[in-house]
């Protein structure tokens, strides 16, 4: 009897430890989803170039995550990228002339949308579109431009 008891306690302990490890791995090490909202509204923004912006990328304002990109599509008529993102409904006083730009966290980090508040009295609401956008900075283009311009200045100095 005593032997079965210790076996059962040992097994229970082992399974509990295993389950809590699984729980720890699935909840604590993944996601990093610091965006949890009860209700949201969807905003649209059009960009010339979205770079490597992907679904679930954060939307931030003053560095705080207030939303998340829901989809990135291509408009075949206007020939530009259409990005839809949701914003937590508690931030309902964002001016509608707010500027959206695609930024990179660090040099090699992932891309996100940064919002820069405007000064309008009208606020963004469900279905509104951000008119002022700034495309992603593509590192290759930047390096290309830098090389071309530095080459040019060399010739001028000659």
């Amino acid at each position: 009897m005593r032997q079965t008891r210790s076996v059962e306690i040992g097994t229970g302990l082992f399974v509990l430890l295993g389950m809590s490890s699984l729980f720890f791995l699935t909840t604590q090490t993944t996601g990093g989803d610091d965006f949890k909202a009860e209700s949201v509204y969807t905003v649209e923004a059009r960009f010339e170039n979205v770079g490597s912006l992907r679904q679930r990328a954060p939307v931030t304002m003053s560095g705080v995550t207030i939303g998340r990109v829901t989809d990135v599509a291509f408009d075949p008529v206007a020939l530009e990228a259409v990005v839809h993102f949701v914003v937590d409904a508690q931030f309902d006083r964002i001016p509608d002339d707010t500027d959206a730009s695609i930024l990179t966290s660090g040099i090699l980090g992932s891309q996100y949308i940064g919002l820069q508040a405007g000064g309008s009295d009208m606020y963004l609401e469900d279905g509104s579109e951000i008119l002022f956008t700034q495309s992603a900075i593509v590192l290759e283009n930047l390096i290309g431009k830098f090389l071309v311009s530095s080459g040019g200045s060399d010739k001028e100095s000659d």
Binding site: V7, E8, G10, T11, L13, F14, V15, L17, G18, M19, S20, S21, L22, F24, L25, T26, Q28, T29, T30, G31, G32, S110
Partner: protein
Amino acid sequence: MRRSVQDIYENATDFLRTFGAFQLFFLRLLRFSPGILVSRFDLVVKQVYNTGALSLVIVMVCGLFVGAVLALQAYSNMSMFNAEDWTGVAAAFALVKELGPVMTAILFAGRAGTALTSEIGLMKATDQLSAMEMMAVNPVRRVLVPRFLGGVIAMPLLAAIFSGIGLFGAHLIGVELFQVDVGSFWQQIQLTLDIDDINEGIIKSVVFGVAASLIAVWEGYNTVPTAEGVGRATTRTVVITAIAVLVFDFMITAAMI
């Protein structure tokens, strides 16, 4: 000349026959599994204890040191690029996707698989399995299936514990020893690791659990019933499990990429 051709032919058919018998054996275990899970769950619990709870110490100690050494290696390489914050990410990816399941499966083969094989092999050598048959008790159902199920249940839990403790070891080295910022260490892990990565680790550990338990039980059941035979069967369990685990690991990784 004719002898050798015939030898090759016989070897090939022998191999095929063993392989086929192995598959049929697996199906037999699977067929009895639901019944045992329902009617004799106590036997399965006993085996989860034998294979899982008793392997805890070795898995935890190894996990701690593997995590720590991963962090050491990652830190010394990452610091070349001033990317020390990624120490945790490197360790976490390696642990969760590869080393957790693989190392645990190999440790499992060494700690639990050999115990299963020698136990069943000795039962066979001392005619206990035959005695059961005489009493109209099916030894596959009564002895093998609970041991197989115990291993299958224990293995994913052990792998999760290995990865969890390993991350703790990486934290000790990265944060406590090398003073990587604790916030960026864990946030970098959370931002980079996806639920799919965890799932890959879980799928691997389940597959390895089935493979390791199946091989251990099979080798035990087919032991040559002598002292030497039990020893050989135990060795074969470890060798075959290690090979099977690494081959499966490659195939699953290739399929999931």
